[in-house]
Symmetry: D2
Subunit: 446 residues, 4 copies
């Protein structure tokens, strides 16, 4: 889900790329030695734009041939081209020593702002002058994010790159396309690889997801037109479906009479790891709701059928902590032990014993647990609540795939988008953390 999972496709691609491009050790060492020179040349060498462009293209190719260690080394070198502390101090002194009218003041503001921009921004931006530069930078940020996880000192660099990309990937530049079985096979192959929620098993499965009772929409940027940025899969039905199997099954969707009344968003996948933290999902859902409303005037209900990916990790922590609290009803161990059976959900007794406690715990998790206030702990829930949805239903044994059992004990949630309430829900959630929630869900807490 949103900005969380690294798509398998991307992993595969990166891995392969590294294999293909990995050089012999000797050659690699030579290249690293040359790297610093190339970086300095790009930033400091005199000369016109023509030679600058040639240098930046060389540097891009050098980077692409590096393995993971080499790339970390590249970031370390790049990290040297930070703001000039002396220049910053000077600029602050100059800023503070003057008085003057508005125009003069704002001129000083601009100069100070300029002094606070790290040279690395200029260098990163210049990659866009090379063909394919945007995709290059997006992938470079994906690499950088992995490095940052281990070593926080790259954070400023990473933030600056995010700012550059955020300006380029402004929602106003994105194009929404409906994806059908008539899309290029090369594109669909890519799309299937990016699916991060419910794995595409084969071409027949993919075709099924693009049939007349389904819709698939994706955002694209004009500078990388054959790369989806994020896509959503929708099933057109006549009821608020609670079981993922029903949706993934063939020809399940539109009932006989009069067209669909309900659109279920059953998968939203971010495709570009390097765009993590730059959100399109909100706009995507709204535009899709808008498009579908026009095509099917009888559509009334727009809802998701979503995983609850953080449930089990939280449950383990929560139950083991509770068990150690005196006065709390123990039993956490029992729950976890029942869940550890491989196909516990087929065991009617076990399932019956678990249903009550797990539904209650899940509701608690969704309504009470926060990442940092006011944000809900569950990332998928947080995404939909931020977009103005409300938590409509929690479904028992809704996804019994291995992933579904492992992450959320087989439960799934419906988040409901009601056009008239989106704004209010969003507002209440982002300002005070209030979670819009259907009454029966809240009941589960008691």
């Amino acid at each position: 889900m949103m900005t969380i999972t690294l798509p398998r496709w991307e992993r595969a691609r990166s891995a392969k790329a590294n294999i293909v491009r990995r050089l012999s050790d000797a050659a690699a060492k030579k290249r690293l030695a040359r790297l610093r020179e190339e970086l300095v040349a790009c930033l400091e060498a005199p000369g016109g734009e023509v030679s600058a462009r040639a240098r930046i293209a060389t540097l891009a190719n050098t980077y692409l041939e590096l393995d993971a260690a080499g790339r970390e080394h590249f970031f370390r070198l790049l990290g040297e081209f930070s703001v000039d502390r002396v220049a910053v101090s000077g600029a602050i002194d100059e800023f503070s020593s003057h008085a003057g009218g508005d125009a003069e003041y704002l001129g000083r503001v601009r100069r100070l702002r300029a002094a606070l921009v790290s040279p690395w921004v200029r260098l990163l931006t210049e990659f866009n002058s090379v063909a394919g530069g945007v995709k290059f930078l997006v992938d470079l940020r994906a690499d950088l994010l992995q490095v940052v996880e281990c070593d926080g000192k790259f954070q400023a660099l990473e933030c600056d790159l995010r700012d550059v990309l955020a300006s380029w990937f402004d929602i106003g530049f994105l194009e929404l396309r409906r994806i059908t079985w008539d899309a290029p096979a090369a594109y669909l192959e890519k799309l299937a690889g990016y699916e991060a929620v419910h794995e595409v098993r084969n071409w027949q499965d993919l075709k099924n997801r693009l049939e007349t009772d389904r819709r698939c929409f994706a955002f694209h940027h004009p500078a990388m037109p054959s790369e989806p940025l994020i896509f959503v899969e929708v099933a057109l039905t006549t009821e608020l479906t609670g079981q993922i199997k029903t949706l993934l099954r063939r020809n399940s969707a539109i009932s006989a009479g009069g067209g669909p009344t309900t659109a279920i968003f059953y998968s939203i996948s971010n495709c570009q790891v390097g765009l993590e933290g730059i959100s399109f999902g909100n706009a995507l859902i709204k535009r899709v709701v808008n498009l579908l409303s026009k095509e099917f005037p009888r559509l009334r209900t727009f809802a998701t059928l979503s995983p609850i990916p953080g449930l089990i990790p939280w449950l383990r922590r929560y139950l083991s902590a509770r068990d150690q609290q005196p006065g709390e009803p123990a039993g956490g161990e029992g729950i976890l032990s029942l869940l550890s059976a491989p196909s516990w959900y087929r065991d009617a007794a076990a399932a019956a014993a678990l249903r009550g406690p797990l539904m209650r715990l899940c509701t608690h998790y969704l309504l009470r647990e926060k990442r940092n206030s006011p944000a809900a702990l569950d990332p998928v829930e947080h995404f939909h609540l931020s977009n103005g949805a409300r938590l409509e239903r929690i479904n028992w044994l809704a996804d019994t795939s291995r992933k579904g059992l492992r992450e959320s004990a087989g439960m799934m949630a419906n988040y409901l988008y009601t056009i008239e309430q989106i704004d209010d829900n969003h507002e209440a959630y982002v300002t005070s953390g209030r979670i819009a929630c259907a009454a029966p869900v809240r009941e589960l807490l008691r």
Copy 2:
């Protein structure tokens, strides 16, 4: 020429737009009264992205219905959403009071930078969320530039808008298209209106400029695909043409045998006033040289036939100042008086008398006069020298159109692009102001 002239087309469009959109006085007053509220709402109102987008769309429409005075009023209101001086002071204090490692320092840099960003930037950027938002902002900057000319206090606002647009119109995002007689009539009508150097007289003239012995290329941005940003017209010939008439005449260009050897860039027009100061011309010329080289392998010479738009204004100042200098050979008045005859160039005696002094003065103007060192005073010359061209020839009676006589006494210059020397020329010019120049031109100074 480059970023200089306001295209007739744009003027016409704006004028018409104002007429069409101008409201009755009463309605206009009401609207201005509402304007401030709308601005404040956009910046300060709580609420989700949905309502934010609705508010910004309202504001954009309000703006479009304003006349020139109303728009100036809008900018004045917008100017109030500048940086918060108190917050800036606080941020500087906070920045200066700490010490710390690199990561911590860079975090403070980011916070200080954020405090230095005026709220108006956020508001301007948000227009892009509306359909057609990019073109809206480009046109808004065109309006703003007119206001800035009269009143410098809008300069910081204007500079910030330029920065936003410069990031969006990064050369890497632009698409180069060849324009032919098969382009949409609606597009060609627009293009003809934007021609800023040699007026397009009618459709036959336009068709002639797109014939097989010509080429026309334009840059486009994906967010405004039917709007050219800048375009260049090229004639394919077999010699370094020095007369503009020869080029504009029908079927003048490719000689019988073996295809063209020379490409003359006879017109470069910026189309979007609102992108003034954001340069594409350099990249345009280089890409076109590259494309033409591939299509016509026998092409050896790439040169312009360019106006010298600043010559006459400079000449008036220069001659009247010189006449007042003791010891200088007077005669400036005589020159100016000869030039004031409406068709002096048809008078053989006058033309003969003027040729020597004017060619010398023109050479002096092009080689010696600076706007601010190292930049040459003439804007067209500066553009081509910055791109790495050299001044190859000055042509007498090269453009005897009214405009040609009025601006440059009928003279034109050839600037030569030699691929191997572009970088060196550029380098020498931008660092030390050295002007690459053919020997015969330099001779004229003596």
Copy 3:
């Protein structure tokens, strides 16, 4: 109008083509001498398809370089490759001498049919194997039609070519496109040249005809996609317009409230002389009525404003004949003499004197005069009646252009297409010659 007028554009093109391609006399003679050999080679030379294609391409190029006399010579040569009379006689004998069952009989039918096909058909068809072959054959038939007019002996050849083209240009293969101001300029230039009813004066006039209150649709064949076959111009109004000026004037059409109620087909032009006699107009009108009904649900009236091109020629014959009939009221000479004044319609007295008799005579012409029963004499009328329209109104001083006065004394007719009556009208007209007609028109006869 339909299959009648040779478009100016086409004339111009042909004339120019001949000039461009005309060879010196000596070269031309040589070529004619070679022509027969080339023809024989194409039809009789042994060899595979590869060499056949090369030969046919050579022949096509030879043809294109011929002037009018050379082309007539070509047709004469081609005329020699008619059916083999001896073979026909033999085939008839063979056919008649057998008896046999159905299958055997039909086999003989096929063999006899084959013997009746002239070899020239095979040769003509083979031109399609050359790039641009379809357009070549269409233009070749245009040449042939001119030759046939003078010399009937080419008629069988011309009919066979028409049959080939009729099979290729089956309505099922044609594509209907809406033409807007966004069409390629090269295409619009061509379209303007083909306009055969109301001359396109300049690009502004053309743009005006493609504005939002107009529609223009054209049929195209996939083998010559940038060539319109036939096009119709429609004005969207709120009343049954009777004056052509009103329609050609700028921004005349849609009134303020609620969109158009009436679509006036004010020009239908065939573009390809070589497709004369192969009718698309019927299908064009029906599909356009269909498209417009979908776009403008309030459209109720579909009518033409049409010229009456055969009126004046008929009138001269009719009046001079009548004047010689004893017992008939003379006066024809007076009418013709009044009409001969250059701007008689500006002379109120003359116009008043003419109105009554001319309206009556025109009605007589349209309702009573036949080309060959049941077809009406007037070609435009015949076209619309065949399509199922009815004669709705005759308009006095409706088109006072030179052409309008010369052909139809300034009168124009409205033909009305009422969807529910199209079939009945068509049926009655083609089977019994009955002309659907509004009562007030019929009144005029009395």
Copy 4:
């Protein structure tokens, strides 16, 4: 191979279509009863083109809902609309009773020809006025061909339909497209189904066939743009490959240095059963040779690796006949018995024993056996020889798939296309049956 095999895809489609469309018995009977009326209405009912079109659309839909028996019934009814024998006799009498000049004679020829055209042609042609009419007629002919096989009385009908389609599918109207992995998935799915030579196993196999070392080209008709008519798969290699496995394996093709020298056409599949007998293969191969030559200037050898589909059936007949001839060396039974072992080719002894005799017999089959002189008996061989190829090599154990063993005892042939010899080879083959053949192949006969 060419016009021989019914593609699996088409079979599947037809079968499925029948199931989907099959009506209840009662409804079917009703429909048949109505069918005759509908047919008569289409041919004889008075009325304009509008109602005619509506009737023909109704008839097309009725047809599509029929099952196989219903369709045969339809053809029987259609067969009644044959030529009118009385009218034919009359026309022949009229033709024979006159004398006259050329023009008059040709007029009679046209009238007699018209009398010889069956009304069913007019009806069939009219289906093209319905959307999708061309594909409908192509599929209808596929049905008709199946019926003809059982009952020759439909042959005249079938031949007339072929003539109509042959005129529409003239090679000049076809468009050659390169098919890549960027083609729409829906299109590629269809293409894979049409592959008639080497089955496409899955999407990975398909992708592999469209990789950089392969090429795939298909012909299309503008009236059915998403339907391939015929396609060819080419592998780019550096030698005359004799084993199909080598080609179907992944990444087998282009060797390291300097690009491919050899293009192997390893699969040619006709896609439309209903176009049987209307040949495109010749033009396809020539255009592809032409395109590849331009892309890869080092390509020298163009050859096929082809099945020998008629070998085994012929072998059975031939050997059993030979065994009964006194004086001939018996042994046929031994060969057939060895071949009947399921994987005989893995048994080294059996394979060794068979190689000599089978290679000799195969050569005899290819060089000596005729369908009807001069055409070779083997259909694939006949196709390539007609196109001007020569038999270059016979390969032992070249295709050990089940199909390869069953049809051609595992052998395959290379046919070589040498541009300079294509015409001569074609000429010699079609006029005198002479088979161009490499010397080593001819050696095998001894």
